[in-house]
Amino acid sequence: METAAIVIEGFTKRYGARDAVHDLSLEVPAGSIFGLLGRNGAGKSTTIKSLLNLVRPTAGRLQVLGLDSAADSVAIRGRVGYLPEEPCYYPWMTVSEIVAFNAAFYDTWDATLAASLLERLELPRERRLKELSRGTQAKVGLAMALAPRPELLILDDPTSGLDPVVRREFLEAVIANVQAEGGTVFFSTHMLHEMERVADEVAILHEGRLRVRASLETLKKSTRQIRVVYPETVPQTFPLSGLLRVDRNSHQAVLTVSAFDESMPATLRGHGAESVEVIDLSLEEIFVETVKGGA
């Protein structure tokens, strides 16, 4: 039976009078690649840091790999590979030194894998970290996150600010690792088309609240646009459930729905539509429609 790698129940984090995250409940199935989407300030990093007990919840319970994130944080961090958005390494260390330094913290550290990652990512062992580019530093971070053979890989928007070539290299390394090792990946990113390539499931956070949580396939099937042309004027209401947004002009309307089903075109024709066209949306378009519309 498949268990959840991450369980979040009623998680709230408050800073002053503002809720960075409000009453979030979420499960991440073991073995999945789970993408967490949201605009800047949506609460993604706060949620991720709370999983590692780097941020303390105001309310709620978080479990990682069956362990309580507050009580067992050291054990959790020993089984999780974590790559923050902007990893701050000791600038005076060389790549070899940061590898040796990290190795000391993990029982499961695989020196052979670490060496192979350095090789594959073309990382210069004797260069100091302060001399490396942002992209190369991100690759160092990825090697550090993968070398302990973690059961769960948590990536907090690791490719932001990287050029497309490095981003592709980075994602390929993640995908290769998942294919080789299995395990769960929980990551947030702004690069939605990249997430679309790899994610099994996604959740969208908006202003600290969960808007959507579904498998990518289900999400893409359920969130669609319908272009409707009427012979006369466009009606004020539409007999559809899960309507996210309506864009209209004199004879035409574009409806975005979050609960599309195959009966919707017939329903619209039955209400006077002259023509109905169903349009598939990319993940990025779904995200934009979700955070702009009122789900």
Binding site: L54, V74, P84, Y90, F105, Y106, D107
Partner: protein
């Protein structure tokens, strides 16, 4: 987590910390090496360039009191602040290692770095000391020993500075800010502790050990605060600074106050051996003993009052007070105070006056510290109680007891070239003059000079100058001298201070401890007997009006003092030597020749009414008590 893994993690943390602290350690050691060269170069063109011996004497203290605290603050402040600022702490805390362990390694390594710097610096000082020894006989150990207790106090003080810097480093993102805040907080804590000790009157009996423990506890509290913040905080990004600073400040200051509570609670349990009682002075009515109590290291003296009826013991002054004298009516006590804030020495000594019930206090004059002519110090009321004289070294100040402007004070600089130190004998009976006596051993004999200083004009008048005096009068400063007994040139003289006349009482013998009655009609003295001038002492009582001289008794040994009872019918005789043996004891000698031994080691302060002798014992077990002369029963009045 396996032991092997724990060790590996600890080793990695230690390696990282040492690599980060290494530049600080090297900077500290470089400064330690350069400092002597800088000092020599800086003073090369001065009128008195720093020579090797002076340098050797200067360096250990400089390293211990300046370099070590400086770098302890620096290493403490950089423990977390730098890593909070550049974000690397967040990275470290996302590794699978507990925060207390990270904290422990970082704080330990930071303090060890400061110790490495200190050790290196002391090696430099030791080497300089070795080099200087060739030139001037100075040595490293001797120089450190001179610092004595102060050198011990620097340890908890530096620990406090370090801990305070660590505390602020836990939530500030810049090391410099943490160091500045740490220094301010440490000074605040020290000031708070001193103020608390001062308010509660603890210093006289607060031994150095207690001070060190209290300061070290404050340091421990700061470290505990840092550990709590570090362990329970979030990513420690230096946010919410104002609130955190206020919290830390309140915790440190409030906590330090709480820490003193155990000291207060244990105060009564402090052993008497932890205090020294000096300057014991019986009030004119005999109802109270005014004494200066200080720690065994003679720090923070404070004047206390012990009531002879056993009703209580209470401190009268703030810390830094000594040399008390009582007004003729016993209502006021004059004393010297080191002044300053919270017991911190001021630039001058203050002559103060306080009511004997502590209800009112006034500063009367300030005397500049005179390092060129150190000597004895004393205060004395005039016979009418309206003026006070204070002597410190060669500076004499005479001031109205009621206070007044600076113009009312007369300050006299006594001649300090051939004859020092000066002693304040007290006031003459009929004139408003202060009697001062100077004596010095010179080439095997003693010179002696007795002068009178006019309390209004400051004019000095020579009363007596002798080249071969014996012991001068050894009484405490008295009001109302009309005749001063002096032993000089094998004679017992009575010098009339008003008439510039001296009268030999006895000649061609060896005399000790003459004491004259306040009415100047009687004198008691000891005559040495035997070939060795201390084998036996014959105690004499002479009526100065009739010339009748009678022997009260013969005692073995050398007499150190005679204390007559108010009616001069009994005498407490102190003995300082018995044959060739030094002793400190006293006997009670009746006018009828009866002798009663006083408790071993006791000296007589004086008489309490007609019935009781006030006894004192000093040294490591100070004691003051009353003895009933007929039965020999004693009652303790200090310590209580």
């Amino acid at each position: 987590m396996s032991t092997h893994h724990s060790l590996r993690t600890a080793r990695a943390l230690v390696w990282k910390e040492w690599r980060e602290q290494r530049p600080v350690a090297l900077a500290g050691l470089a400064l330690a090496i350069l400092l002597p060269l800088i000092l020599v170069a800086a003073t090369a063109r001065a009128p008195r360039p720093l020579d090797a011996a002076a340098l050797a004497g200067l360096l250990p203290g400089l390293y211990l009191w300046f370099l070590w605290p400086l770098f302890a603050a620096a290493t403490g402040a950089s423990t977390f602040a730098g890593e909070i600022g550049d974000g690397t702490l967040g990275y470290l805390l996302s590794r699978p290692v507990s925060r207390p362990r990270v904290w422990l390694v970082k704080v330990t390594l930071a303090f060890l770095t400061s110790l490495v710097i200190l050790a290196g610096a002391l090696v430099v000082a030791w080497v300089v000391g070795l080099m200087a020894r060739e030139a001037a006989g100075s040595s490293f150990a001797e120089t450190l020993r001179v610092g004595g207790a102060a050198n011990l106090l620097v340890v908890p003080a530096t620990l406090l500075l370090f801990a305070s810097s660590v505390l602020f480093s836990t939530f500030l993102s810049r090391s410099m800010n943490a160091a500045a805040a740490g220094l301010a907080a440490a000074l605040l804590i020290l000031a708070g502790l001193f103020a608390l000790w001062d308010t509660l009157g603890l210093e006289p009996r607060l031994a150095l050990t207690w001070s060190m423990i209290d300061i070290a506890l404050a340091a421990a509290l700061a470290l505990l605060g840092s550990l709590l913040i570090f362990s329970r905080g979030e990513l420690l990004r230096g946010r919410g600074m104002g609130r955190l600073v206020a919290m830390a400040g309140a915790m440190v200051v409030g906590g330090s106050g709480l820490l003193a509570i155990p000291v207060v609670a244990w105060y009564d349990q402090l052993a008497p051996s932890e205090a020294l009682a000096l300057d014991r002075l019986l009030s004119p009515a005999g109802d109270a003993v005014v004494l200066t109590v200080t720690s065994p290291h003679r720090q923070s003296p404070r004047i206390w009052v012990a009531h002879t009826d056993g009703s209580g013991l209470e401190h009268l002054t703030a810390a830094g007070a000594f040399d008390p004298s009582m007004a003729p009516d016993g209502r006021w006590v004059a004393y010297f105070s080191q002044g300053g804030v919270l017991g911190w020495p001021a630039s001058g000594l203050e002559l103060r006056i306080i009511r004997s019930d502590g209800a009112e206090e006034r500063r009367l004059a300030t005397l500049r510290h005179d390092r060129q002519s150190p000597g004895s110090s004393a205060t004395s009321f005039s016979p009418d109680g309206n003026h006070i004289a204070g002597l410190m070294g060669s500076s004499l100040v005479i001031v109205p007891a009621a206070g007044g402007g600076a113009g009312d004070a007369v300050t006299v600089r006594l001649d300090d070239t051939p004859l020092t130190p000066w002693q304040l004998l007290g006031w003459s009976a009929t004139r408003r003059e202060v009697l001062v006596l100077s004596s010095q051993w010179r080439e095997g004999s003693q010179s002696l000079k007795l002068e009178a200083v006019d309390g209004v004009t400051g004019a000095q008048r020579m009363i007596y100058e002798g080249k071969r005096p014996g012991l001068p009068a050894s009484q405490r400063p008295l009001s109302g001298w009309s005749r001063v007994p002096l032993v000089a040139g094998g004679q017992l003289l009575l010098v009339d201070v008003d008439k510039d006349r001296r009268e030999p009482i006895a000649v061609n013998a060896c005399y000790w401890s003459p004491v004259i009655s306040e009415t100047a009609d009687k004198i008691a003295y000891a005559l040495c007997l035997g070939e060795k001038a201390a084998a036996e002492s014959e105690i004499h009582l002479r009526n100065l009006l009739t010339g009748d001289d009678r022997i009260l008794g013969t005692l073995p040994g050398r007499v150190s003092g005679i204390r007559p009872s108010p009616s001069w019918d009994r005498f407490v005789v102190g003995l300082s030597q018995w044959g060739d043996v030094d002793v400190r004891t006293a006997v009670l000698l009746g006018r009828d020749g009866t002798v009663r031994a006083l408790p071993e080691g006791s000296l007589a302060l004086g008489w309490h009414g007609r019935d009781h002798v006030v006894l004192t014992r000093s040294g490591q077990d100070p004691w003051i008590g009353l003895m009933e002369p007929d039965t020999g029963e004693t009652r303790t009045i200090f310590p209580q």
